[in-house]
């Protein structure tokens, strides 16, 4: 690899940071780490990494506070949310704030390296669980479709998300749907954009109404 991806780690548990750092050694270049929002913003601005691995729950405002502070200054930094939380509202909030993807902390090493690489190259990373959240959020008819383009998923996007939720990798999924992996990326990015821009009131309200285990 000519140039390794520069990664910044943000998590309030030092032990977890140490573990991830050890796991990623040799695969990516961990340029810094932080344990709270202020530290993270300062560190990211000074190191200008490619990818920030961002814990959803952080003292001082949570992951979305970091994105809100950094994104206007460094639009090229990509955020990958990393969480143990099963609370859909937390995950959706970080994605809507601008994270390019969401993976659970139990993800294995290869999966994490792969996800970092894809986020760094501008793609979106959906875990099965996030795909489930999104399908749930977009399920049913939007009663007041302010922007039909943004407020509903196309059938193809739904197919892609369903397969992700069923545990398919992008490659398997592309073969299954007889499309190219690049097209899969396009669909996922489009879903991500809808997730971030949609005015569907379900997206903001839905998570709170629902008790997801």
């Amino acid at each position: 690899m000519t140039s390794q991806v520069r990664v910044f780690l943000v998590d309030d548990h030092g032990l977890f940071r140490a573990g991830v750092k050890a796991e990623l050694a040799g695969e990516v270049d961990v340029v810094g780490e932080a344990g709270d929002v202020d530290e993270a913003v300062a560190g990211i601005v000074s190191t200008e990494p490619n990818v920030v691995l961002l814990d959803v729950h952080l003292p001082g405002g949570g992951g979305q506070a970091v994105i809100a502070a950094v994104a206007p200054r460094l639009p090229d930094v990509a955020f990958l949310a990393l969480s143990v939380s099963d609370a859909a509202e937390d995950v959706i909030a970080v994605i809507r704030a601008g994270a390019r993807g969401y993976v659970t902390k139990t993800i294995d090493r290869a999966g994490l390296v792969d996800a970092i690489g894809r986020v760094a190259s501008g793609d979106a990373v959906f875990s099965p669980r996030l795909a489930g959240f999104v399908l749930d959020a977009f399920a049913g008819d939007a009663p007041v479709a302010v922007d039909p383009e943004l407020d509903a998923l196309t059938p193809r996007e739904q197919d892609v998300l369903r397969l992700i939720a069923r545990g398919y990798t992008y490659k398997e999924l592309a073969r299954r749907l007889s499309i190219s992996p690049k097209t899969v990326e396009t669909h996922v990015s489009s879903v991500l954009r809808k997730l971030q821009l949609s005015s569907r009131h379900e997206l903001t309200r839905w998570a709170a109404d629902r008790k997801l285990l």
Binding site: R129, A139, A165, G167, L213
Partner: protein
């Protein structure tokens, strides 16, 4: 009048539990009390009849002779006096030690206690004047014992320790509807009764005043009543509001303590037990992983809702999604293999949904038993038109056409079960490709 600070320091009685709990400084004279409580007592040594007057003298520090004279006058001049004496003889406890004369110096109330005593006295005087003006009067022979009782009560109040007062106040100052613990709910009835009785008395008293006051004295009487009430409000208002604040603070503290206790109990029952188990068997990585998974699930269920032990509800109210979760957890535990379950939508659980869940459980178990994959992915969706479940593994796979006839698991437990409900099951698999079982049931 003596300075309380020069009270004898020698051989102080052991602190009572009540006093030991107090963290605010108690008045010096309090330490001289032989009894643990702030109420008067009957004397052990100094008694003529029951020791009431002697005890009161020990307790208050007044001369026993003076106390007896007053008591004798009160008892003999009215019918109420003997009643009060007998009542006191029954109610008051006998002191548990003798009280030396040097401990019996009068300690007048100081500071706020004095203010309160004076206020109480003024209120009592004002009330009696009002009563007299209205024409309601105890009669000549009753005023003296009533006054003695009043002074005694006000003294008792001013000399009671702070904590006990707090207790009294918290019982007195309660309104109906005020939030309280379930265990105290029986007290609500008493509160309602008290409020009703208060209203009845208020109305009856008001009617009595209006009835008995001649029209010419009506205005001055009402003015006097209003003035007295204003005085009471002015004097007692800040005290009552401070009391309310104290009570609210106390309640908040109690709620915090209870929450803390609940968290501690949960952590103890689950996390600490698991950590202990892991410490005892750190070498068996599979069981450690299983323990960690079970623990994670249980903690998650507790944090994000659900039942305390982490199991999905199994009662009739459980939904399709609940039962899918329960099935996935069950397979995880039985086969010690992570099941990644994603649930979208939900539906009420009926017999058909249960058949689907049972088939899905069998498919998960098959994957766990035969595939050799490190995890199983399960996706379950309840849409408007159908319930569908996909069970997928990346294990070694098999050729569905080559399954021997006698292997009934797939045919009976999965395909047959669904077909009986009008659903369908499809198995996609090839050697080396992993397996996916797709189950669908139209609604």
């Amino acid at each position: 009048m003596s300075d309380p600070s020069d009270a004898p320091a020698a051989a102080p009685p052991p602190l009572s539990p009540l006093e030991a709990r107090q963290n605010r400084p108690s008045p010096h004279w309090w330490r001289r009390m032989p009894s643990a409580y702030g109420t008067p007592w009957r004397s052990r040594d100094d008694r003529v009849f029951a020791g009431v007057a002697g005890g009161f003298a020990e307790w208050s520090g007044f001369s026993p002779i003076l106390t007896r004279a007053v008591a004798a006058a009160a008892v003999t001049t009215s019918g109420l006096g003997p009643v009060l004496y007998v009542l006191a003889a029954f109610v008051l406890p006998v002191a548990d030690r003798s009280v030396p004369a040097k401990d019996r110096r009068i300690a007048w109330p100081k500071g706020r206690d004095r203010e309160r005593a004076v206020v109480a006295l003024l209120v009592a005087v004002g009330v009696s004047i009002v009563l007299r003006a209205v024409g309601i009067w105890f009669g000549g022979e009753l005023w003296f014992p009533a006054a003695v009782a009043g002074v005694g009560l006000s003294l008792a109040w001013s000399r009671t320790d702070e904590e006990r007062r707090e207790l009294w106040r918290s019982r007195l100052v309660r309104l109906p509807g005020e939030e309280r613990l379930a265990a105290e709910s029986d007290r609500r009835g008493a509160t309602v009764l008290r409020v009703v009785a208060g209203i009845v008395l208020f109305i009856a008293g008001g009617a009595w005043v209006l009835h008995s006051a001649p029209p010419s004295t009506f205005v001055p009487v009402m003015a006097a009543v209003a003035a007295t009430a204003c005085g009471v409000a002015l004097l007692g208002g800040p005290w009552i509001s401070a009391l309310w604040k104290d009570l609210a603070e106390e309640r908040r503290a109690r709620i915090r303590t209870e929450e803390r206790a609940e968290v501690a109990a949960q952590l103890h029952d689950s996390v600490l037990q698991t950590l202990a188990l892991i410490q005892r068997h750190p070498e068996t990585t599979r069981s450690v992983a299983q323990l960690a998974r079970q623990q994670e699930r249980s903690l998650r269920a507790w944090l994000f809702g659900g039942t305390a032990d982490g199991s999905a509800p199994t009662d009739a109210s459980a939904t399709f999604a609940d039962r899918m979760r329960a099935a996935a957890h069950d397979v995880e535990d039985r086969f010690d293999l992570p099941v990644e379950l994603v649930v979208v939508g939900d539906a009420p659980a009926d017999g058909r949904a249960d058949a689907l869940v049972a088939a899905a459980r069998e498919a998960m178990a098959n994957a766990a038993r035969h595939s050799g994959a490190p995890e199983v992915s399960v996706y379950s969706e309840a849409s408007e038109t159908a319930l569908s479940v996909f069970v997928r593994d990346r294990g070694k796979g098999f050729d569905p056409d080559a399954v021997p006839e006698d292997r009934r698991g797939l045919r009976d437990s999965i395909v047959g079960r669904l077909e009986r409900q009008g659903g369908s099951a499809a198995v996609v698999s090839a050697p080396g490709e992993g397996t996916e079982v797709a189950l669908e049931l139209t609604r």
